[in-house]
Symmetry: C2
Subunit: 148 residues, 2 copies
């Protein structure tokens, strides 16, 4: 391997999004049982810090749920605080009505309503809710970004 040269780059790609969770079973319950997302459940328990759940999403990437202590230890970092404003995950829908419906489903599944869906300044329609670990989902209608 030579030293990096000007013009070298890395392909723009995210293969896996891993969310830190405080209680893996609770988190899996929200996504699998509440939202109905496909998973083989908790696997990897034979490895130290290996217990994890993967969800294969439509159109990629993979969503992983991993205990915060495992994630931190694997990265050689101390576990940091929960912080809901580090990221949002956007789930686009085909209409404002679909946003309202998905929001109601996610709240019924145990999501915490953070901002009820409403018209946005840029002409869309969106709301926020938090998963059991405080990770924010934005459910959004954007006429320029309609999912397949």
């Amino acid at each position: 391997m030579g030293a990096p040269r000007r013009g070298d780059g890395i392909e723009p790609r995210i293969t896996v999004i891993t969310l830190a969770v405080g209680d893996l079973e609770r988190a899996v319950g929200f996504y699998r049982d509440g939202l109905g997302w496909p998973t083989d459940g908790i696997i990897g328990t034979e490895f130290e810090d290996g217990a994890v759940a993967f969800f294969r999403l439509s159109g990629g990437p993979i969503l992983a749920l991993w205990p915060r202590e495992s994630l931190a230890r694997d990265a050689s970092l101390p576990p940091g605080p929960r912080s809901s404003t580090e990221l949002t995950l956007g789930h686009n829908l085909a209409s404002a009505e679909a946003v309202d419906r998905a929001f109601a489903i996610a709240v019924a599944a145990g999501g915490t309503p953070v901002k009820a869906p409403r018209a946005t300044s840029w002409g869309g329609y969106a709301g926020y809710l938090a998963d059991p670990d405080g990770h924010l989902w934005e459910l959004v209608f954007n006429s320029d970004l309609i999912p397949d």
Copy 2:
């Protein structure tokens, strides 16, 4: 819209991953100039809290960089602390050598090495680095998950 019924669900999909950043220009510089990722740069400055940069990734989803204060205000939450252990973004590569090379490129681009690439307990090869806002990337070779 009726009330959610048992068996209702939400399609497993992430359209946009938005990372909170402390300095939007610095963050855009890392991903655009350092990693070479495609973007139209900072757009949306005509809207309140609208300044944002989007990167279209191979195989979806879209990566967005958004000032933490904007993200928090939009979600009606107080800005939380930086916390590097809330998530990791996994970028899979086709070999251990490709992990080493990508790691060197990302560090040369201004990423902070967090854990140098090494063999993992599960038979792969991986390292961690942080982007300018502390968001963790795992560069990883997993023979079961080779990117196209």
